[in-house]
Symmetry: C2
Subunit: 213 residues, 2 copies
């Protein structure tokens, strides 16, 4: 498959979400024009994005919602299942462990790990929290696809290095640090929640400035 | 102030984070070149971004880390305090309520609201969870700047509409729906955690495809 630009890839989950909403409302077919109005993206952008992956639409008919939804799901790898572990079972780690929607999409939480003796041994969603020293053997025995890092930034780089060595395929990182793959074998997605909050405070202040001008 | 592009604004919190890391390590001065190497952004991009907001660097000296950090903090509105309420006190809502780092940056959680009778009356971080029917009076009495929406998507649009009417300045939305301001008075930042996870599963599959070619 040809190399798809990051910008296109970032838009795919959004298409998937909007199509999922249409499906929920029993909409059978849609058009790039209709999607465009709902999503605030131009219709030609949508056609161009989807053309990267094949021919989904038909002249005069538009798109079959279910077919397009399923196809984009496949492109995103959502027809497969992923074994997930969560490292750092504080509030955010527990929130992710308990978020049913991820499980529905095929992301199955298989292991929970922490350094805190008060957490180790506790059960969250039928899974016993284990000591981080057990991650290596767990990964090797269970085949872990994705590790979620919800731990302090100081500990994140070393754990990421080890996870890559042990053959984990992806890291979903919530520690406030930009992790990078050291050997190019592991995929990393860094999420920076505080940055999104700061973008909001910027916008609030900019609006206030406008008013006072 | 002239209109700054969204792309620049999105990068500001990252500069802020990297400068904060330098400060923590007692680094007194830095250069666009050094920031560039750490951040994977070109040095000229950094100079151009920062020039939008004034003259921060000096030829031959570079940037004073603390001054630049504080200045960017001000641009982001972080020298102010924000009264926050959280609507939907499930796992994610509680995780946000308990995240000390937001409080340190000036985002103070003042109220927690839910519809679930089992949660109402519970205390999270010294705050009693109230019924959502009390949001209006709470907002009017306490002056709420930001509402965090960690609730099902079905309920998000109506609450957003009301929050705008009641004078709340910003919404940090975690419901899987793109909220928009109806009157242009409220700022909205939509966070889509699942989309970031799907981007990761896409990347994992793309890497697998590469290997098998």
């Amino acid at each position: 498959m040809k190399k798809i630009s990051q910008a296109v890839i970032k838009r795919l989950p959004r298409y998937y979400r909007y199509l999922g909403d249409l499906l929920e409302n029993d909409v059978v077919r849609t058009s790039s024009k209709e999607l465009s109005e709902r999503m605030g993206v131009t219709a030609s952008q949508i056609r161009q994005d989807l053309n990267n992956f094949g021919e989904f639409g038909q002249q005069g008919y538009g798109y079959n919602v279910e077919y397009l939804y399923t196809s984009i799901g496949k492109i995103l790898g959502l027809e497969k299942e992923y074994n997930i572990i969560i490292i750092g079972v504080g509030n955010l780690g527990q929130a992710i462990a308990n978020y049913i929607e991820f499980e529905r999409k095929g992301f199955k939480v298989k292991g929970l790990f922490d350094v805190n003796p008060r957490l180790i041994g506790m059960i969250v969603r039928d899974i016993e929290i284990k000591d981080v020293s057990e991650i290596e053997s767990f990964v090797k025995e269970n085949g872990v696809d994705i590790a979620v890092l919800t731990l302090p930034k100081q500990k994140a780089p070393e754990i990421a290095l080890n996870l890559e060595k042990w053959g984990v395929k992806g890291i979903w990182n919530f520690a406030p640090i930009d992790l990078q793959s050291s050997q190019g074998k592991i995929c990393i997605e860094n999420v920076h929640l505080s940055e999104s909050l700061m973008t909001l405070s910027y916008a609030i202040n900019e609006k206030n400035d406008e008013k006072s001008n």
